[in-house]
């Protein structure tokens, strides 16, 4: 019994039906889309094993075969559904993936010279032979068959066949990797475990729906500053019973608040669009998105904040809790900038920012003060802490996070303040004291406003003044506000001078001081005066230079 494609469309007029059939076939832009469609049909038929085989026979004839162990078809199913377009046993059935009754037609987009479908159910076995254009014959077989086997035959060059096989494997792996049954291509399974390798990934399950949700892992940036996901490996995948409906970088539709999640979701409530290239954004899709949103807030974000809290406690000077493991705090700070984290609103009270010498701070606390940060604990940060000023531990991504999420600008504690650490260098304390007194006297004679001179070190960790000869302080070895206290005295700078015992000139002068205290003091004082003159105005330059000249003359050759 031979039928035309018109028969596939029911009782419509043959010419119109043939045209509609052709249109329908060509809606499948990818000629290999039939692989996905046949797998989908097999899943709906209750298959637990689907095998796809690509073989190249003699005379350039290629066979693509899809065989399943599903329930197969009897004559009634073949006539009512397989051979009738837009009619499906699965219409509106939430337990099935296919809905439209057009999946099988996709085999014609491959333009096979012959297509054979063999199927059996409850003792009935049938063979359907489809010719180009959709004309077909239906034959009853005597031998029992189980499941359904579809074979497409087409002439092809060997090199084209290899390309076809490779593309076929890729297509099947892309669409079917999470399928809830074993799928083999040329004997090799293509299934991947339904799980997610992403930070803070959590599994959620309820009848009919399962997903893994996590946050996008930070990666290399491409340089697109306008894209909030630039530099993140964001991925979302939607499937129905493991058959991919969409894979993309973000959730489609108006769900910008979810940008930055990693999601693999399968739900029997999801459907694909008629064109098969997207997930249908209907009420069921919105329900799933709502579930994702709830799970994000209830499970994933709390884990991120908990992890950050523990890291902050570990890195903060006053706590030193055990390290919580991967991911480290720096990537977490980057993840916290993801739109889906909504950091400013979610983490207001979370103490997730480590400090150099105190306890971790929350955003709420940071909003109340000038925010200083330093790369490590040092004498400056310790003095600030004594004064009750918190200093954040400066980590990569911290400035960007605070600026982007809370509009908070941070200042460098080490650039804003400096200090000195007492040290007599190579001298004994009494020698150092004598030298300092002498230098103070000479400096005063030169017109500098100096109340005291001290010996110390300026090369503490992250020091910005390590290479300077001296700094000015209101209180020796206290905190100096750079650019305020540390101005030349004629501009109102502080009057305690701390000489850097590690400075090259000072070190040589300290060695000289053991033999010739006066000369050492003179040289140090001269250098101080010259430095002050360089740092000060031209007006200050004249007395300083004349002092140096005079001092040298007094000592003679």
């Amino acid at each position: 019994m031979a039928e035309s494609p018109g028969a596939l469309l029911g009782k419509a007029s043959r010419a119109g039906a043939d045209e509609a059939f052709s249109d329908l076939v060509h809606q499948f832009q990818d000629p290999l889309a039939f692989l996905r469609e046949l797998v989908q049909n097999a899943l709906d038929a209750g298959s637990t094993l689907i095998e796809l085989r690509f073989t190249h026979g003699g005379e350039g004839l290629v066979q693509v075969e899809v065989e399943d162990n599903g329930e197969g078809m009897d004559e009634a199913t073949i006539d009512r559904y397989l051979l009738t377009l837009f009619r499906s046993t699965k219409e509106e059935d939430l337990t099935k993936i296919g809905k439209f009754g057009i999946g099988f037609v996709s085999i014609f987009a491959f333009e096979p010279e012959l297509a054979v479908c063999e199927t059996g159910r409850a003792g009935e076995s049938w063979r359907l032979i489809f010719h180009p254009g959709g004309r077909f014959e239906k034959l009853r077989l005597a031998e029992p068959l189980e499941g359904t086997r579809v074979r497409l035959l087409k002439r092809m060059r060997p090199e084209d066949f290899e390309r076809l096989r490779e593309q076929g494997r890729r297509v099947v792996a892309y669409w079917c990797k999470y399928a809830e049954c074993e799928i083999r291509v040329d004997g090799e399974p293509i299934n991947e475990p339904f799980q997610l390798d992403a930070p803070f990934a959590r599994r959620y399950t309820e009848p009919g729906t399962e997903f893994w949700l996590g946050l996008a892992r930070p990666g290399p940036r491409s340089g697109d500053a306008g894209d909030p996901l630039d530099g993140f490996e964001a991925r979302v995948s939607f499937s129905n019973r493991g058959l991919t409906l969409l894979e993309a970088g973000r959730v489609p539709g108006p769900h910008e608040d979810l940008a930055g999640i990693c999601l693999v979701a399968k739900s029997r409530y999801l459907e694909h669009t008629l064109t098969r290239d997207n997930v249908l954004q209907d009420e069921q899709f919105d329900k799933l998105v709502d579930l994702v949103r709830k799970e994000l807030d209830a499970s994933v974000l709390p884990r991120l904040f908990e992890h950050m809290r523990r890291w902050a406690a570990h890195r903060s000077g006053a706590v030193r809790a055990p390290a919580p493991g991967e991911p480290a705090l720096e990537p977490c700070l980057r993840m916290a900038r993801l739109p889906c984290v909504r950091f400013a609103s979610q983490a207001e009270r979370e103490p997730v920012f480590p400090t150099t010498d105190g306890e971790p701070l929350s955003l709420r606390r940071l909003r109340r003060q000038t925010v200083l940060a330093a790369r490590r604990s040092n004498p400056v940060t310790r003095l600030l802490a004594e004064r009750g000023q918190d200093v954040l531990l400066r980590l990569p991504g911290l400035s960007d996070l605070l600026r982007q999420c809370a509009g908070i600008e941070i200042r460098s504690a080490d650039a804003t303040y400096c200090t000195a650490v007492p040290s007599a260098g190579s001298l004994k304390p009494e020698e150092a004291q004598a030298l300092c007194q002498r230098v103070a006297g000479l400096a005063s004679r030169a017109g500098l406003r100096v109340d005291g001179v001290h010996l110390g070190r300026l090369d503490y960790p992250s020091s910005k003044v390590a290479k300077r000869l001296f700094i000015r302080q209101r209180e020796a070895f206290g905190l100096t506000e750079t650019g305020v206290d540390d101005r030349p005295t004629i501009f109102g700078g502080a009057r305690q001078l701390v000489l850097n015992a590690q400075h090259g000139l000072a070190r040589r002068c300290l060695e000289l001081a053991r033999d010739d205290l006066e000369l050492a003091a003179l040289l140090v004082a001269q250098a101080v005066v010259l430095t002050e003159s360089d740092a000060g105005s031209a007006a200050a330059d004249l007395p300083a230079r004349s002092f140096a000249q005079r001092s040298c003359e007094e000592r003679g050759p």
Binding site: L49, E92, A142
Partner: protein, 342 residues
Amino acid sequence: MSLCVEAPVPEQPGEHPDAIVLRGRHADGYVDSLALALHAARLNAFFPPVPPLLAHLSFLGPRGSRGLRRSLRLAPHNGLPSAAEVLRVLIDREAARHSRPDQAVPRGASRLARRLRYYRALDGAELMPFQRTRVDLRQQLLEEKQARFRVVMDHYDPVGVQFVRYTILLGQEDGAFGERLIELDRDLAEPTRIFRRKLSQLGSQAAERVFAELDAHPALEVEDVRRCRVGPMLLPGMPPRAAPLAPLLDPASSPCPASQTPWVLAFPEERAALDMLRSADADPLALLLGQPAAALESPEGSCLARSCKLVCPQPLCAPLAELCRELGRPCIVRPIAGASHG
């Protein structure tokens, strides 16, 4: 597999006096063959799921029980592990869950060490449940105040001594006279306790009977009932000896080599449904055993179809398939992969 069937010695109170007892390596070989047959059968989703079945089987016999038991008792009427053996695994798992997980397993092969190893393995295993019912919403017809569901019940049938899966498609009318059997909360469907009990009571019944019983409920409209079973396993010596199958299963006349015991594992399927054109019986099992085939009596408006798939050692395949054809019930016959165990 070579079977060394011992004289029936009832070991357990209430057990069938003709229970087949396999000991030592014969029992382990039997379990291995059963597992190979399950792999070879390529069962689809209408049958009990294979991975938990295999897991369940792996705890039977001397090897599976870590030497705690020396024998395996089979039900005489279907050649499958007796209900006591199957249920013991479930009970042992409960015991395993209540054992102390922190207790160190002693070295060596003492009874305590073996028991603890057995418990540890059992505790993490996904076994076949005694009964598990899952209901999925298929469609909600708000205007007609009806919802359609798919009910899947995995069940151990202690009467038939076999694992069964029922797949039932039905509709429930909201507000109809009588109790609701399925509760629907948005998209989530849950069987009520009454429905579970009813299904449990029907758990040994054929598909057509389940169809008729459920359809008789005022709130339900049944479309399709399918029952798929694992077993029976036909072994040498199992009655009736005069059946057409007897020569194939008799070691003296079987095409299997002397080292290999001939056996056949059947996977029967029956379906009562509204959307079939005609009733059909393609199940050769009864005829193979020399019994009259059951009448094809389907509930009103529905049709009934029976079929069966057989798995056996390779040498038996061709003659068995031929025999089924001769009986007018050709069916799928699959060989087990690799050699059977001795």
